[in-house]
Amino acid sequence: MTEAFEPVIIGFTCNWCSYRAADLAGTARVKYAPNVRLIRLMCSGRLDPTFVLKALASGADGVMITGCHPGECHYLEQNYKAMRRYHLLKRMLAQMGVEPGRVKLVWASAAEGVRLAGEITKLVEEVRALGPLNWPTAGVAAALPAKPAALEVPA
């Protein structure tokens, strides 16, 4: 490869805090790496670890999970769930051969546009240093249809 490697990062944001932080960074014209594709969830507690697995299996080089600071989740305790899922998921990924540094959890309030932009740029550089993930199922994973519903055969 002759072209410089540009990591693809999927960023999951919370509607109430980190999404607004990213928005604020935008309106304030704060510069950050364009490698991140942000996806808005209502809360970090909505983050099913499957989303992260799908991102990595479909070609992302890294994933950023963001949410309200501990104690500030609009749905009370859901960001703690996100945190526990993140810790468990990292162990799972490490065992499968995905470097732990590719997935990161960041808390950011709606006012922290500058900090969030800084964290994004930092993760992009860290993942750039790790190199492309090139997970061998890319394409396959994205294209796989969900299996249709089960047929209950009364036994």
Partner: protein, 337 residues
């Protein structure tokens, strides 16, 4: 249809343990219905038949083929392709055919390491460190043995599959019910489900069928059934035993938790869940009773083998399917035969 007018039935085992075959025989007198309604043309466990007999059959001439076992080597793949061609209804039968089963946990390690464990560890008497050779010349001629792939795959990563019937093995009552359904459908008395469906299973979770008492789950640590005396009536997960029931499709009447052992998830993910382990991680992490990262880490330390626990029978069918080093090795090996 054959000369006697009966539709043809086949069953095959690829990388399998034999449990699925036993489960079919365990349908007791219903096995006579199979014999009465089908002409059994190929079933290596139960009757003598050669691959060349199958090769000689017209395409699509087998009405129902239950294929159990994963795709581990070139022979498995070859027979999967052959039976796909010859069968009208090809069923991925059992966890290994559906999602790789537990043999797929070897996807976490390299092919060489798997061979080393099988042929060169203390329990094996192999002083010369011999390995199976793909080709070997004997006075009678040249011998070939199948090539072992470095990753285990489910059946649908080798050929298109009509139905999935999960379980390790599928419950005999479910097998009997499915066989009955197919017989009825052949007589025009019932319709088969949409292609690609999961058959012989339910729509909800093992927890739904489990009658253990559930309270609000709050786990402060993980343990195992051999380390203490679990309460016989209380949910195992609440007692800190990693039970995969919350993410697992029902259909087995929650046999394992009802007998006191945690569910390992052999019925696979429920409707709408794409990745078994992802769904399970979501459920288990939610009930860990801590908001402190260090304490969470300490609690998670008590799960010695996360992938082995969260993808016990599902790794090859998961989104990531294998570990990266293994896949890389596979790119060179598997696609060349």
């Amino acid at each position: 249809m054959t000369a006697n007018g009966k539709p043809k039935f086949a069953m095959y085992w690829a990388a399998a343990c034999g449990g699925c075959e036993i489960a079919v025989l365990n349908i007791h007198e219903k096995i006579l219905d199979v014999d009465a309604n089908f002409d059994v043309v190929f079933w290596p466990v139960a009757m003598d038949a050669k691959y060349k007999d199958v090769e000689a059959m017209p395409d699509q001439s087998i009405t129902l083929c239950l294929f159990n076992g994963a795709i581990r080597n070139s022979e498995n793949r070859h027979i999967a392709e052959l039976l796909r061609r010859k069968s009208k209804i090809l069923v991925a039968f059992g966890s290994c055919a559906c999602e790789g089963g537990f043999p797929a946990l070897s996807n976490l390690t390299t092919r060489e390491e798997t061979l080393r464990t099988a042929f060169s560890t203390v329990s094996t008497d192999n002083p010369q460190n011999l390995r199976p050779q793909p080709n070997y010349t004997v006075p009678e001629g040249e011998l070939d043995i199948p090539h072992m792939y470095s990753v285990v795959r489910p059946l649908d990563q080798a050929v298109p599959v009509d139905y999935y019937m999960p379980g390790c093995p599928p419950e005999s009552e479910q097998i009997a019910a499915v066989v009955e359904l197919v017989i009825k459908a052949l007589k025009g008395e019932a319709t088969l489900p949409a292609a690609g469906s999961v058959i012989g299973a339910g729509h909800s979770t093992v927890c739904d069928e489990c009658t253990r008492t559930r309270n609000e789950k709050k786990i402060t640590g993980f343990t195992r059934i051999q380390d203490f005396r679990p309460d016989p009536a209380l949910c195992l997960l609440e007692q800190g035993i990693l039970c995969n029931g919350p993410a697992t499709r029902n259909g087995c009447t929650a046999r394992c938790p009802m007998a006191g052992v945690p569910c390992v998830g052999c019925y696979g993910p429920t409707d709408g869940a794409r990745d078994f382990g992802g769904r399970l991680m979501s459920a288990v992490a939610s009930v860990i009773d801590s908001t402190d990262p260090q304490e969470i880490e300490r609690i998670l330390d008590q799960i010695p083998d996360p992938v082995g626990s969260f993808y016990h029978t599902n790794l090859a069918g998961s989104l990531l399917q294998a570990s990266k080093p293994t896949w890389e090795e596979d790119q060179h090996a598997a696609h060349h035969d």
